[in-house]
Amino acid sequence: MRATARLVARADRHGRTTLAELRGESPLLLRQVPASDGGVTVYVVGGAAGPLAGDDLRLEIEVDQGARVRVHTVAASIALPGRPGAVSRMLVRASVSEQAVLHWLPEQLVAAAGCAHVADAQVDVAAGGTLHWRDELICGRHGEQPGDVEINTWVDLAGRPLLRQSLAVGPNAPGWAGPAVLAGAPATGSLLVVDPTRPPEPPAVWPTHARLPLAGGPATLWSATAPDAHTLRRYLEPDTRTAELLGVRPESGRGDCADG
C-alpha cells in the first residue's frame, strides 16, 4: 500500500496553534485531539495492521513559527513480512521553524520475524526551534527473532548536521545482537531533545543508557537498551527529570553490568 499524510501547523495571532492542513489516507490516518495548552495533539491512527512489506508510507509535518505540535500513535506499529523480497518503508519528513515546537513521540516499532522494514526520518529544525524525537524498537514479538529493520534518522539544526543515526537489527545486520551493539537486549531506542531554552547537560551514563550532549547542539540524545518496552520507555521520557526520579545515578565506577 502507498499512503501519504500531511500535517501543517501555524500559530494564529493569539499564539494558538491551528492546523492549516491535516490529511491522510489509509493506513496512515491523522486525528486531532483536544489539547489544553494552546498547542495541537495529533494521533496517527493505523488504518490496518502493519506496516506490511511492500507498504510505502510518507508523513510530512510542517510546524511553522510559534506553533506547537505533539504527534503520537495510538498503538505500536508491527512491521510484518509481506510478499517475498518486498520491503516496507515509512518516511517522515518534518520541519520545525523558529519558536516552533514538535514532539514526535510515537509508540514502539516492533520488528516481527521475517519483516523487512526501513524507517526514515528527515528533520530540519531552525535555530530557536524545539524538537523531541523518540524512536523505540522492539526486536521481535514475544520469543521470536526479529526480521530486518533499519531506522535512519537525519536531523539538521540551523542548516547544519546535528544527528545522523542508522540502527539496523535482524539477519542482515552483522553483530546486531552482540556485545558491540545491543548485547541481546530486545528493546532499544533514543530520544533526541533539541531545546534552546534548556541549559546544556553534561554526559551521564548508567548501565544501559546514557545522556549524550551532541556536538551540533544545544541538543541531547538519550540512548538506551532495555530488557522490555516498559523499561525502555522509562529511560526515554522526554522530561529528563523523570530519569532522575528513577532514583538511579550516573555511575562513576566500574559497576557497568548488563541488565540481564
Partner: protein
C-alpha cells in the same frame, strides 16, 4: 596506484599513531561481562565492523576523495593561482563538512574526543612522515581532527586510493580491538588470529561498501550506530583506573 607495501605500512599496527593504547570499547565491554571469550569477541568484532568500522571507512574514503584529485604543493606548476585557490577552498569546505557530518554520527562526547585524539596522533605521524601533505586543509578544531579524515589525507599522501584507505580503516577496526582482547583476556593469540582470518572477507566487504558510499553526498554517508558503543565509551571515560585510552 600505491604499492602494496605502502598499504601494508599504513595498516600495520606498529605505524606510530597511538593505536596500541585504544581498545575501541572492548575494555568497557569486558568489564561489563559482555565480552568474555573468543566467541563473544567474534560477535563484538562483527558488530564493530558493521557499525563503527563502516562509518570510519566511509569517512576515510570520502576524505581521501575530497583531498585527492586536487593539486598538492608539488602540482602547483600548470595551475593558475586562482584555480589553485578555488580548489583549496573547495577542499577545505568539503573536509569541514565531513567533520560536521562525522560529529553528527558520533553522539557520545567521549567517542568524539577519542576520535579527535587519535586524529591528532595520526596527523602528528603524518606530518613527520609526509611533510608536504596538506593536513592544514582540515578544519581547525581545538581538540584535533577526526581520525578518519586524517586517515584520508594520509592516504592521499601515501598515494592510496579511497578503496584502499577504507580497507585500512576497516582492518584497524577489527585488529585494534582484537589485539586489546589478547592483552585483556589472555586469549590464545593463534585463535584470535584465526578469528581475524575468518573476518577478512567481511572486512573487505565493509571496505568495498564504504568506498562506494563515499561517492554519495556527505549527508548520505553511512551512519551505522550502536547504542552500547556510546554507553561503553561514556562509562569507560568515568573510570578512575583503566588500561586503555578508549
Amino acid at each position: 596506484m600505491a604499492t602494496p607495501t605502502m598499504l601494508l605500512l599504513l595498516a600495520d599496527g606498529r605505524f606510530p599513531a597511538g593505536a596500541h593504547a585504544h581498545s575501541a570499547g572492548l575494555e568497557a565491554a569486558v568489564a561489563a561481562g559482555r565480552v568474555r571469550d573468543l566467541a563473544t569477541l567474534g560477535e563484538y568484532l562483527r558488530g564493530r565492523l558493521a557499525t563503527a568500522g563502516l562509518v570510519a571507512a566511509a569517512f576515510a574514503a570520502a576524505s581521501c576523495r575530497a583531498a585527492s584529485g586536487s593539486p598538492g604543493p608539488s602540482a602547483v606548476d600548470g595551475h593558475r593561482p586562482a584555480e589553485l585557490t578555488h580548489l583549496g577552498v573547495a577542499r577545505r569546505a568539503a573536509l569541514a563538512r565531513l567533520d560536521a557530518e562525522l560529529d553528527a554520527r558520533t553522539a557520545s562526547p567521549a567517542q568524539r574526543t577519542v576520535s579527535r585524539r587519535q586524529g591528532r596522533a595520526l596527523r602528528r605521524a603524518g606530518r613527520e612522515i609526509w611533510p608536504q601533505a596538506t593536513f592544514d586543509d582540515l578544519p581547525a578544531t581545538s581538540d584535533g581532527p577526526h581520525q578518519p579524515l586524517v586517515l584520508g589525507l594520509v592516504g592521499v599522501a601515501a598515494g592510496l586510493e579511497p578503496g584502499q584507505v577504507a580497507t585500512v580503516a576497516a582492518y584497524a577496526t577489527v585488529t585494534g580491538s582484537a589485539s586489546a582482547a589478547v592483552r585483556l583476556l589472555g586469549l590464545d593469540p593463534y585463535q584470535v588470529q584465526a578469528l581475524l582470518v575468518r573476518l577478512a572477507g567481511d572486512c573487505d566487504a565493509v571496505a568495498a561498501r564504504a568506498a562506494r558510499a563515499a561517492e554519495q553526498p556527505p549527508e548520505r554517508l553511512p551512519a551505522a550506530a550502536a547504542p552500547l558503543a556510546d554507553i561503553h565509551a561514556e562509562a569507560h571515560v568515568t573510570w578512575e583506573v583503566r588500561l586503555f585510552a578508549s
